[in-house]
Amino acid sequence: MTPFEFQRLHEPIWRELELAAGLRRRDVGDAAPGTAGTAEKDRARFAALYRATCEHLELARVRAYPVHLVERLEALTAACHQRIYRQSDLGLARLGRFFLVDFPGTVRAEWRAVLLAGIVFVVPMLAVGVASYLDPAFILSIHDASSVDRYDRMYGDGSGGRRPEDSDWAMFGHYVRNNIGIAFQCFASGLFLGIGSLFYLAFNGVLAGSIAGYLTWRGLGPNFYSFVVTHAAFELTAIVLAGAAGLMLGRALLAPGRQSRRAALASTARKAVVIVYGVAAMLLVAAVIEAFWSGAAWIEPQVKYAVGATCWIGVLAYLVFFGRPRRR
């Protein structure tokens, strides 16, 4: 069969498919849009024509048909392939399932990484916190004097970190950019055998612990803790989870199991990113709370403690209990 006969024989199929795949505009000879039984409308027919065209492409290649013909069939099959095997993981139903099942489920499945991240974050935080409390000069080995002075002023004026309300939005923007950025960094740097995540976890733990310990020694504890207690439930948990997601990447590279390191990294990254989505959402909540609630001057510290405790219980309960399969 010559290329021309081949083309004449199969041209109708290719043209129908090209139209359905959006590779050409509608022409005079074509069926009206949405006509039943065309590849455009009928998925089974689309698939059948696609398979036929794959066969044509292979024949054209083996018989060394002209380049333009092979290229046309290549473009056509590539476009159909993209349509048929396209994966979409967006959508509202998907989003609901994500927060109810996937996110807490993944966190529990990776409890070892979460535990390790938690220890690496909390232990330096407590150690440095106690050290700064016992020896107030210790904080100067972590922060410079001017930032220590700023913390003093922030929490020392009896306003407990409260600010004029028109700056709420400014702080919100700042928290979003700053905190979520830190969490993403904490995750991404896990790619270096997990070392980056360990560093960022410990580093942030040290920062938080030193400030808390120092302010407690200064007797500004009530101001400070009533300010941080509520959003810390989301923020600290999220940082630990981001670090855990980074550690997962590191573990995939260090101990890939029965896969190549590449394959282990790719499959682990798909799981880890689920946690990172959740972390981003939690930090968004934390930023809202930190900007509009924690800094609000009119709320009594007792109320803040109560709400903060509720949030802590809520967040932990969410991560521990949500999305478990039903027991019979």
């Binding site: 333009h68 290229e71 939005w169 980056g196 790719a266």
Partner: protein, 237 residues
């Protein structure tokens, strides 16, 4: 991946992925230079956007500053994600250079993959100026940066425009000798390229092939003779 169907392995960096139907799609990964230029374009766009928005939101005081920081955050992390999930699968910079992001198997990039590759940009950036990403791209033949490795994605050149159909009107004539399949396809491919070649170049190429295909054609008739053979081979008899 498997060997190309007809001839020996390709010498260039293209690689083939096989679809479930058993046909091979060809992908042409984009290298460091193209991607750096694309990045520079995107970076300029981002800076310009940021400055425009900063001026506009600057009028709104503290509230405007908050919005600006949120915008900054979005631009910093999600500018590429937004564009990669659009039908072009490429940021404006990549589009300008004819690049797009696809999955390893040639499929459109998924939201999760786009998210992963752009979050891990932070790792590619370390220790400074994308050194890690650059190193990774240089040692790999498919030019993946670390984010691409974890997300199973690859940045490819969009396929160049297809060859035209045979556009010659030379009278069809059979070749004077038996031609192998590869020789046949070479002649037809040459004929398809005539419109894109200068006449002198077309003659030059014809002079190489003519002795093997149409040895009796006069020297000034070689192009026409060979084009005629191409039509005959393609079936326009």
């Amino acid at each position: 991946m498997r060997a190309p169907p007809v001839d020996e392995p390709l010498l260039d960096l293209r690689y083939r992925v096989e679809t479930p139907e058993g046909i091979a799609l060809t992908l042409a990964p984009a290298g460091v230079v193209a991607r750096s230029v694309a990045f520079a374009i995107d970076f300029s766009i981002r800076v310009a956007l940021l400055m425009t928005v900063a001026v506009a939101l600057g009028l709104l005081g503290q509230f405007g500053f908050g919005l600006f920081m949120i915008f900054f955050f979005g631009l910093e992390w999600f500018y590429p994600v937004l564009f990669e999930l659009s039908p072009w699968a490429a940021t404006p910079g990549k589009r300008a250079l004819g690049l797009k992001v696809v999955m390893d198997d040639g499929l459109p990039v998924t939201p999760a993959a786009s998210f992963i590759r752009n979050l891990l940009r932070a790792a590619d950036f370390l220790p400074f100026l994308y050194a890690a990403g650059l190193l990774s791209m240089l040692v790999r033949s498919d030019f993946k940066r670390l984010g691409d490795l974890a997300a199973d994605t690859v940045v490819v050149h969009i396929a160049e425009p297809a060859h035209a159909e045979l556009a010659t009107d030379a009278p069809p004539r059979p070749p004077e000798r038996q031609l192998s399949t590869r020789a046949q396809s070479a002649v037809v491919a040459w004929a398809a390229r005539i419109p894109r070649l200068t006449p002198a170049r077309a003659e030059e190429l014809a002079a190489i092939a003519a002795p093997a295909v149409v040895p009796r054609a006069r020297e000034d008739q070689q192009v026409a003779a060979l084009a005629g053979v191409a039509r005959w081979l393609a079936g326009q008899r």
